[in-house]
């Protein structure tokens, strides 16, 4: 015993204690920086994400009106013909189709047949998701209601109800979930006919109908398709349907309108993280796959959540890009802040998210907007605007009320973008783009502690924003990754 005591000694014990204490301190520091685990799977958000009473950007004024519902495809086509003459749109599409075919034949990296079909495969679920039908049905389809199960519908405190719905949404695949109050001004005026299922072929898959892929996609969804064929307007008269609010008990889709019951005062706003490894390969068919997969995940999540809510005894309307503006609901629900991209940037996934939402009459506690220093960061950074090949993003120091085209909704402050230029660039690449999403310094993986530390520091010390932007460049973030390497990358052991 005496020998052991001599061997260990007080000094050694002190050293060991010091080492243990230092490790503990290091661990604590880590937890503090990371905000107690702010990874995608964690429920509690980092401490540097402050809850605020009003959105930092995007708050609406009395001038804010319901948006027409026209997607950028429709607007671009109209403007293209106005600016460059009738038939210029068709000519551009034909040229794009030829170019894409040539790239495919010469196996251009990012545009080969497997690259292209990877995107089409990823879009499969979304192909069958049209507003008001199938996955996105506005009324009960499969689930048995509590009434049918001879049990009262689920009731609890608003906080508990919100927790229940958020837990379910996360299980189905949501990265971030928040509850916002219904704001009728965010709901589109109508559902364009191109976003609706065709009457003669209500729920069939696009490939079975020989329908061009772009026609099947919801508004705001790009396609690497064969747009030369995408001319449904020429064969079908417009059948836009109005979206109206009425004092009814259940949502309805009629021949002329989509009816949202006024009692639906809750919106579950959801962000679906996109695959960063694919997004970093934009603008190619591979980069497109990140968006396609995001849309399919979105459709699955909102469809599943709507069924879950109906099963609890309430009404639910699942929406992806359709029916309403997702961004303002997501801002109000505290999922992220409006950025220089004029899109949502979240603290956890940056701009690499797809948004979707579920309207419901299930009473839940509302979330509040957040402030993590993004607007101040955007004022200094401008990396997305510099990275944008079409110069569609604003370089202004301050956001303003000045819109840049019919695709923008006036009545709120923002860094408005030129979607015409943006979409024009899509025609050159033959796919969607996404460079701005990938280049945002907030769009990062969740492996390295330094990302959390930088975001945490930027949230409290805007003076460091310029340094962090410079560091982001120096570390080589936001650049397009090797296109061919994606197919040979070892994915064994990777989840999902």
């Amino acid at each position: 015993m005496e020998g052991i005591r001599k061997q260990i000694g007080r000094r050694t014990l002190l050293k060991a204690s010091g080492f243990v204490a230092a490790s503990g301190a290091l661990g604590s520091l880590w937890a503090l920086v990371a905000g107690g685990g702010s990874s995608a799977s964690a429920r509690k958000r980092a401490r540097w994400i402050r809850v605020v009473s009003r959105p930092t950007l995007g708050e609406t004024t009395a001038d804010y009106k319901r948006f027409s519902g026209n997607d950028i495809f429709t607007i671009y086509r109209q403007l293209k013909d106005q600016r460059d003459g009738a038939g210029s749109f068709e000519a551009e599409q034909a040229s794009k189709t030829k170019r894409l075919a040539a790239w495919m034949n010469e196996k251009k990296p990012g545009y080969s047949l497997p690259d292209r079909q990877l995107s089409e495969g990823a879009f499969t679920v979304m192909h069958s998701a049209k507003p008001g039908t199938g996955l996105l049905a506005w009324t009960r389809t499969s689930v048995r209601t509590p009434e049918e199960l001879a049990t009262p519908r689920y009731t609890a405190s608003p906080d508990e109800m919100a927790k229940t719905v958020k837990a379910a949404a996360r299980l189905y695949g949501a990265g971030l979930v928040g509850i916002a109050p219904m704001n009728e001004a965010y709901v589109n005026l109508r559902v364009p006919h191109r976003a609706q299922p065709r009457k003669d072929q209500p729920d069939k898959d696009a490939s079975q109908k020989n329908q061009p892929p772009m026609v099947q996609r919801p508004e705001g969804v790009h396609a690497g398709g064969e747009p030369g064929k995408d001319q449904p307007q020429t064969v079908q008269p417009p059948q836009d349907k109005e979206i109206v609010f009425e004092d009814t008990d259940v949502p309805a889709v009629t021949d002329t309108k989509f009816v949202i019951p006024r009692k639906m005062k809750w919106v579950v706003a959801i962000a679906i993280p996109m695959d960063l490894d694919l997004l970093s390969r934009a603008p190619t068919a591979l980069g497109d796959t990140a968006a396609a997969l995001g849309y399919s995940h979105s459709a699955f999540v909102v469809a599943s959540l709507a069924v879950f809510i109906r099963g609890l005894g309430y009404e639910a309307i699942p929406c992806v890009n359709d029916t309403a503006q997702s961004i303002p609901f997501a801002v109000d629900a505290g999922i992220g802040e409006l950025s220089r991209l004029n899109k949502l940037v979240t603290p956890e996934f940056g701009a690499g998210v797809r948004l979707c939402k579920v309207f419901t009459d299930m009473p839940m506690a509302y979330d509040k907007p957040v402030d993590f220093g993004l607007v101040e960061f955007c004022k200094t950074c401008k990396k997305c605007a510099e990275a944008c090949p079409s110069r569609a993003l604003s370089f202004e120091d301050e956001p303003s009320f000045k819109t840049r085209g019919p695709w923008n909704n006036p009545g709120h402050k923002a860094w408005f973008e030129d979607s015409y230029k943006c979409y024009q660039y899509w025609q050159k690449t033959g796919t969607g783009c996404g460079i701005c999403l990938a280049s945002c310094p907030y769009t990062k993986g969740d492996q390295a502690w330094i990302h959390e530390a930088v975001k945490a520091t930027a949230s409290i010390a805007p003076a460091t924003d310029g340094v962090f932007r410079a560091m982001d460049d120096a570390f080589g973030y936001g650049k397009q990754r090797d296109l061919e390497q994606w197919w040979t990358k070892d994915r064994s052991g990777r989840r999902g």
């Binding site: 520091l29 993986g445 390295a448 502690w449 570390f475």
Partner: protein, 83 residues
């Protein structure tokens, strides 16, 4: 060779508080930058990983250099004490 009559004096000095502070900071930086390096490889951010590896190597080098310098000065002090 030493004689039985030789007298040696061993001076034990406490390291100043700032030494421990610097050593702790050094260790913390090495751990954090090393984590960044490994994480950057996992995130396929190869340039960030390279920079982190280099930063780790430089930090470890500085630590080793400081340790060697301190060892040298200790030996020199011991020599000067002897003479």
């Amino acid at each position: 060779m030493t004689n039985a009559t030789d007298v040696f004096t061993i001076t034990i000095r406490r390291r100043p508080w700032w030494f421990w502070g610097l050593a702790g900071l050094w260790l913390l930086l090495v751990v954090l930058i090393l984590q960044t390096a490994f994480a950057s490889v996992r995130e396929s951010e190869y340039r960030a990983a390279t920079i982190s590896w280099i930063a780790t190597a430089v930090l470890v080098g500085i630590g080793v250099f400081a340790w060697l310098c301190r060892g040298r000065s200790r030996r020199l002090n011991a020599s000067s004490d002897r003479f």
